[in-house]
Amino acid sequence: MALRTLKLEIFRYNPNVSGDKPQMQEYILEEEPDMTLFMALTRLREEQDPSLIFDFSCRAAVCGSCAMLINGRPKLACKTMTKDLRKKITLMPLPVFKLIGDLSVDTGSWFRAMNKRLEAWVHTNKEFDPDAQEGRMDNDLALRIYESERCIECGCCVAGCGTAILREEFISSAGLNRLARFFIDPRDERSPDQYFEVIGNEYGTFGCVGLMACDDLCPMEIPLQQQLAFVRRKMLVAGLTGSGR
């Protein structure tokens, strides 16, 4: 394909510089073969504007650092190739999350707080015995857990969710998916009642109105609709049969 001259419109705002105002800034860049937005932004920073703030770590679509609004849609910039985009590209930071500067947002703190809230770890009373064989598990179950565990906490689903935009405390599909992972893990000894306490409410499973932006936007292609519905059904049963308030 012929290489083009790209026009990038990038959101600029550094809250740490007094007097700075949010604005869109335009950059012109010559496209290169197999160019990703990671390469494009790095070149902009190194050749045109070294103050440009954005986040990349793995640049291989596995760490979740680089989600941003690419022509309005939340996507991973590192695995977006310029040849799949039109000549004029707009880049904006993800909504919902706290802005650090330009295209960088604090997804890390958001997800950490969410995981704390969900107590997203294995709850068990067993002690680890270094001399004992590991506990057995069915391989299919291990793969099912892995299916949810694949989430890279990039925040695309959160940024695309109308509910999350309106309700700050909404746990979001990433949170519900994370919880589903512990729910099906027999090593976690929490009862359905205990899960219901945490997410059986308006800020959790019953807050989701089923917009399915999350399901369409997840770069890891995690089946979020099925995960959300699974949690909802389990929480219905827990809520109707359990002793929770």
């Binding site: 073969p33 190739m81 650090i100 997800f111 294995v122 565990e149 090593r187």
Partner: protein, 604 residues
């Protein structure tokens, strides 16, 4: 200048990858107050990018039957080309099974043994026994006598890091992310913590601690082409080197991977060749059988890398904007096989090159992959030279890898070493009282603040840091790569010395305000060049070939003169490291044949 309030903790762990988090967990469970620092949120550390797996001799699978810690030890020592410390390799092999089982206890969804008969891609028949069903499964990895690499589908590093981080969360260990350490606070005898820069605001921060642990991972990004995350710039290594007292071990020992996709250098896993992929040159000729008639594409990583480089050198490489490369051809494996068994490879091809590997050729070339060298420590993980300073993981030279790391031994090392270092750090904390001189801390802050001020004001000069960095990357990639020789290495050293001097005269193009990324890069650059010089100069001096260090002018391993480890120190003045050497510890296995050199190669 305003002095920031110091943040005080018992154990300061710099780095939230697997090594850092495992160290923190151990120290915290010994009762210490622990704080972890990281450039990125823990779950975005480079460790999450490892796909393959983690070695531990559980022996649950049919192909791992009879495996034990002795065999794992032997594989590790052979792999290192006898460059490792054998007491460390022994400790490691013994603890790896515990580490893997503990991860399972914490929730890691390891793949499990499924009973029944199976046919392997090469036609062999195996049977998994019912009595092992549900126990942790293992896969084949280069250089091991048994199948020993435990895994979770195609995301082992991801699941292990996430599992580790849940424990950090559960224990309530403090994590400060978006913090970059700039230097260590020390008085020439003892380490007291670190000076850092907040990557949210750009402000300086001071952390004081009884023990400081460097767990900052590798330096892959010194090279122009690396499979590493872009934050792997070796910062932890050079802050230790910059003390002038702490040496780096075996920096010339660099591992390369034969197949990274061009031009993003994302790794194409061994599976592509393992399942029968071909390497083709610019005439679409399959060249590996010409060099390795027996093993062909299945020779070991370093052998395949060397053959590829050689073939490109004789003019058979494909020219592209991003330099020479070769082709990986998996089309004949069929669409079904590619999109099921090799799914992660297909995804990389689609995501980063927009190609369909069932129809098109994949552009690949060898790149930097892993750093065996690092902050030299003893078997407890305590750094040489400064009390109260420890190191763990890829940033360290504990030294179980010697001159070549086995696939899957690195994730295992991070976890095992974290267990050891965390405990030793806690013991050190219990036996120490914390007294520090405020003037010393102030001196250290002042030094960093001055560097920042000078850069912003452009007082040292106007050298463009990105241009200098590019020269460094190219020098390493062209002259300190897979094939090395005296002439090239000398040229590289000359170039790097010159660039190092220029890097001291760097100036900013932007204003350097707030979390300015250019300022961060400028602060790192001289340290990165020091590392590059340690690598190039160490390689120049080592006149033998051992493991991944392959000298064309000295093609043989030379145990009489070189069965020893390089220790690189950075002197107060000057632009070259001072090299010293120490013997490697041989306790069980005397030097011998690796058994998979240039001709006898690994199965996978």
């Amino acid at each position: 200048m305003s002095v920031p309030n110091p943040y005080i903790t018992d154990v300061l762990v710099i780095g939230a990858g697997l090594a850092g988090e495992r160290t923190a967990i151990e120290a915290a469970s010994c009762g210490c107050d622990v704080t972890i620092l990281s450039i990125v949120p823990p779950r975005r550390s480079h460790s999450t990018g490892a796909q393959g797996g983690m070695q531990a001799s559980l022996g649950n699978t049919a192909m791992g039957r009879g495996d034990n810690t002795d065999i794992h030890f032997t594989d590790t020592v052979k792999g290192s080309d006898w460059g490792c410390d054998q007491d460390v390799a022994r400790l490691f092999a013994n603890l790896a099974p515990v580490a893997v089982r503990q991860l399972s206890y914490w929730g890691c969804p390891w793949n499990r043994v499924v009973a029944g008969r199976k046919t392997l891609p090469d036609g062999r028949e195996i049977e998994e026994l019912v009595e092992y069903e549900g126990l942790i499964m293992a896969r084949d990895f280069g250089g091991t006598a048994k199948w020993r690499t435990c895994y979770t589908a195609d995301g082992t590093g991801h699941t292990v890091q996430y599992t580790m981080d849940t424990v950090v969360l559960k224990m309530g260990i403090t994590v400060h992310d978006r913090v970059e350490t700039l230097s260590l606070i020390h008085d020439g005898e003892k380490c007291y913590g670190a000076i850092c820069r907040c990557l949210r605001t750009g402000k300086l921060m001071v952390y004081l601690a009884k023990v400081t642990v460097i767990a900052t991972g590798g330096y892959g990004r010194l090279y122009g082409a690396s499979t590493n995350a872009i934050i792997n710039e070796g910062t932890g290594m050079f802050i230790a080197l910059n003390t002038g007292i702490v040496p780096l071990g075996n920096m010339e020992a660099v591992q390369f991977h034969p197949t990274a996709i061009v031009p993003s250098w994302v790794l194409i896993t061994e599976g592509a060749r393992g399942d029968g992929g071909y390497l083709l040159d610019k005439d679409l000729h399959r060249f590996m059988p010409d060099y390795e008639p027996a093993k062909k594409e299945l020779a070991s990583r370093d052998v395949v890398s060397r053959r590829m480089m050689h073939h490109m050198r004789i003019g058979k490489g494909v020219d592209s904007k991003y330099g020479l490369h070769l082709w990986l051809d998996i089309r004949h494996l069929g669409r079904k096989h590619i999109y099921t068994n090799l799914r992660e490879i297909a995804k990389v091809c689609q995501d980063f090159n927009g190609i369909d590997p069932a129809k098109e050729l994949i552009p690949v070339r060898p790149t930097q992959h892993y750093s065996m060298g690092g902050v030299r420590t003893n078997i407890d993980g305590a750094a040489y030279g400064l009390n109260g300073l420890y190191a763990a993981g890829e940033a360290s030279c504990w030294d179980m890898h010697g001159f070549n790391r086995l696939g899957g031994n690195s994730l295992a090392e991070t976890t095992v070493m974290g267990m050891v270092v965390g405990r030793k750090a806690a013991e050190y904390v219990a036996g120490t009282t914390f007294i520090y001189k405020e003037s010393m801390v102030r001196d250290h802050i002042k030094r960093q603040q001055e560097r920042i001020n000078n850069l912003i004001a452009g007082r040292n000069g106007k050298e463009n840091i990105y241009k200098l960095k590019k020269i460094m990357e190219d020098a390493l990639l062209e002259k300190v790569f897979i094939f090395r020789n005296g002439k090239d290495l000398q040229e590289a050293v000359n170039t790097l010395r010159e660039v190092y001097q220029r890097s001291l005269k760097a100036g900013l193009m932007s204003d350097g305000q707030g979390a300015n990324p250019e300022l961060g890069a400028a602060l790192r650059l001289p340290g990165m060049l020091r590392l590059a010089l340690c690598i190039a100069y160490g390689a120049l001096q080592r006149t033998e070939s051992r493991g991944s260090h392959s000298r064309e002018d000295y093609p043989k391993r030379d145990d009489a003169n070189w069965l020893k480890r390089t220790l690189a120190y950075w002197p107060e003045e000057g632009d070259l490291p001072v090299l010293k050497y120490e013997p490697v510890k041989i306790t069980e296995l005397p030097p011998g044949e690796r058994g998979y050199g240039e001709t006898a190669a690994v199965k996978k």
